[in-house]
């Protein structure tokens, strides 16, 4: 019963955060909304028996990414709001379609037999399982993730660097 209550409140927090992001009058408000969203998701992860991932969520997402956003927003001083939208009709069409999409997905979910196995009796060492899998079956994706970071680094160096005066 406690589980349901906890799920409900964290879910609401996540949704509130999300709505806050899109309604925020300027970028910094949105960033904060994002922070709330990420943290509530982190909490949900813990409930879903994925402590390690929750930890990473807090550190990487809530921490690094949101901080970086705020950092760049502050750097470029673009914290002011937006002007009036010239083409409102697309805005409403977009929202309507999105809602339609959600309805479709919910309809799918309700119709399908969603996975509902109970937790295994003996508590597993989550981190050990992940570690083992990471370096056996999922070794290649790990390397690929490495390459991804490499791209990130190259991109930053290439784009943000001032033209070499040399």
């Amino acid at each position: 019963m406690l589980e349901i209550i906890l799920f409900a409140c964290f879910a609401l927090a996540a949704i509130a955060g999300a709505i806050w992001v899109i309604l925020g009058k300027n970028a910094t408000w949105s960033a904060l909304g994002l922070l709330i969203n990420f943290c509530s998701l982190g909490a949900l992860y813990i409930m879903l028996n994925a402590p390690f991932v929750a930890l990473i969520q807090f550190i990487v997402y809530a921490g690094a990414i949101v901080v970086m956003f705020l950092f760049v927003i502050m750097l470029l001083m673009v914290a002011r709001g937006e002007g009036q939208d010239k083409k409102p009709v697309q805005r409403y069409a977009g929202i309507a379609l999105a809602v339609l999409l959600t309805a479709g997905l919910v309809y799918v979910a309700v119709g399908a037999t969603m996975p509902h196995g109970a937790l295994p009796a003996t508590p597993q060492d989550n981190v050990r399982i992940l570690g083992l899998a990471l370096f056996s079956e999922y070794l290649l994706p790990l390397w690929m993730a490495g390459v991804l970071f490499l791209i990130g680094m190259i991109a930053v160096v290439m784009l943000a660097k001032r033209k070499r005066e040399a």
Binding site: G104, L105, Y107, V108, A109, G111, A112, M114, P115, S136, E137, Y138, L139, L140, P141, M144, A145, V147, L148, L150, I151, G152, I154, A155, V157, M158, L159, K163
Partner: protein, 481 residues
């Protein structure tokens, strides 16, 4: 579980050369850029050799993530061809458009992404490979950093790419939810028992979202709106690489997924893909009619060609997939050649992409004009060029599988396309060259690219038998007969 690197030999080579070129760049000496270019080219060639070397009927997989089967290795050759040509163009572009030297590294990384995408048999590997490819391309698109067009294109591609890959990921999640596994083979086995889409809504929704992600990547209607802006904004080198390599990777992966994971639903999806094919062809061709800029016209034409390729996909079956592979190779040659010419016309800060810049080119630069005319005719599907045989193969596949109407619509589209391709040829041959038109300069590597692609286009148009034999062998591991 021994890690046998032999399965990933080509990818490993490319990665090695990525690091080597990076190291050279780090040394930061003045003439290191050309050295980096040649090194990158060496890497590509070596990877190609490795792919050919390991080519055989066996299909070893690397921890069930990636399979080095005939199909995957053949796909590598297509990507490496596109990459090699792009790097050659890059050698010129770096000097002419003052692109950063990192371009070579990023092209190699993108090729790595494509090769992995081509051979991935696990959805996690597919998603990661796709992301490597996409992010590398976002950066490449924005590589001409002191040109607003390039940055804007990069930004747009980034936003929409992210948006689409979110859909793709959601699809993977749903498939995971429905089948409990990421491996394509197992999904195929699990899904086999379900007959109609209605019995497995989650799996079906998963496939839909997967299709959306790939349709975006390959630029099918209605997910293709990004292509014209991004292709026009990005430097010609990157556009050529993207339009050939990325599109090929998208199709190769989509074929593998549909064939191994969702073979049972082919009938239901055949019809949808056919409709998408018609929409894509018609949108691409008709929108290209009114274009003033040659580069943007080529962008729309690449959408149209994606439409033709989807016919092969919609038709499925052995001939369909073989025709897709053949079309991809011919398309790579024609398109990269055309973009090479577009690049040769431009100069730093002065792209010269408008139709008027091509007036009377035959008198200013006969070689270039003849090559461009050849590419235009090939793209239009005029016989004795690779374009014609590619279309012929796809249409015959359509006719065999009872989609004759689709072939008819496609051929009518080809006629519409002939009009705007012809307009470029006409402008080059019939107009009087304007006096103050900029002198066109073609350096050695660019000249080589144009020459190689035009010769290959004609050769494949006249004598395609050996390549066809090779393709039909490559298809066997995938289709099983």
């Amino acid at each position: 579980m021994a890690i046998d690197l032999q399965v990933l030999a080509p990818e490993a080579i490319i990665l090695a050369f990525v690091l080597i070129t990076l190291f050279i760049y780090a040394l930061g000496s003045k003439r290191s850029t050309t050295l980096m270019g040649w090194l990158a080219l060496a890497g590509v060639v070596l990877a190609g050799a490795a792919s050919l070397y390991y080519w055989g009927d066996t299909a070893p997989t690397f921890q069930g993530m990636v399979a080095a089967d005939g199909y995957g290795l053949f796909a590598n050759l297509v990507f490496l061809l596109a990459a090699g040509l792009a790097i050659l163009m890059g050698l010129e572009a770096v000097r002419r458009f003052d692109l950063p030297a990192e371009v070579f590294v990023l092209v190699l990384i993108a090729t790595l992404g494509m090769m992995l995408l081509g051979s991935a048999v696990n959805l996690v590997a597919v998603f990661l490979a796709l992301e490597i490819l996409s992010i590398a391309l976002y950066v490449l698109t924005a590589s001409e950093r002191d040109e607003w067009r390039s940055l804007e294109a990069g930004m747009k591609y980034f936003i929409l790419g992210g948006f689409a890959s979110a859909f793709l990921l959601f699809g993977i999640a749903m498939i995971y939810g429905a089948t409990g596994t990421f491996s394509l083979a197992e999904i195929g086995a699990k899904g086999g028992s379900l007959w109609a889409l209605r019995d497995a809504p989650l799996l079906a929704a998963g496939l839909v979202f997967l299709l959306i992600g790939f349709a975006f990547k390959v630029a099918l209607v209605p997910f293709q709106m990004w292509t014209p802006d991004v292709y026009e904004g990005a430097p010609s080198l990157v556009t050529a690489f993207m339009s050939a390599g990325a599109k090929a990777a998208g199709f190769v992966a989509l074929i593998r997924i549909l064939e191994t994971a969702f073979p049972y639903w082919r009938a239901e999806w055949g019809w949808v893909l056919a409709v998408i094919a018609v929409l894509t062809m018609s949108w691409g061709n008709m929108a290209a009619l009114g274009q003033r800029s040659v580069k943007r016209m080529l962008a729309y034409s690449s959408i149209a060609h994606a439409g033709y390729i989807v016919i092969g996909l919609a038709v499925a079956a052995r001939t369909g997939y073989a025709s897709v592979l053949f079309y991809l190779i011919c398309y790579t040659l024609m398109n990269v050649g055309a973009f090479a010419v577009v690049m040769a016309m431009g100069r730093k800060g002065e792209p010269n992409e408008d139709l008027d810049d091509y007036t009377g080119l035959i008198r200013r630069k006969p070689g270039l004009a003849l090559a461009m005319a050849l590419f235009m005719l090939a793209l239009a599907g005029i016989p004795l060029t690779a374009g014609f045989l590619a279309k012929l193969y796809v249409f015959s596949a359509a006719v065999v599988e009872g989609y004759a109407w689709l072939a008819a619509v496609a051929i009518v589209n080809a006629v519409i396309s002939a009009y705007y391709y012809l307009r470029v040829a006409a402008r080059m041959f019939f107009g009087e060259a304007r006096a103050e038109a900029a002198p066109v300069h073609v350096s050695a590597p660019l000249g080589f690219v144009v020459a190689l692609t035009s010769l290959a286009t004609v050769f494949l148009g006249v004598y395609p038998a050996p390549l066809l034999e090779f393709i039909q062998a490559a298809i066997r591991p995938l289709v099983g007969f």
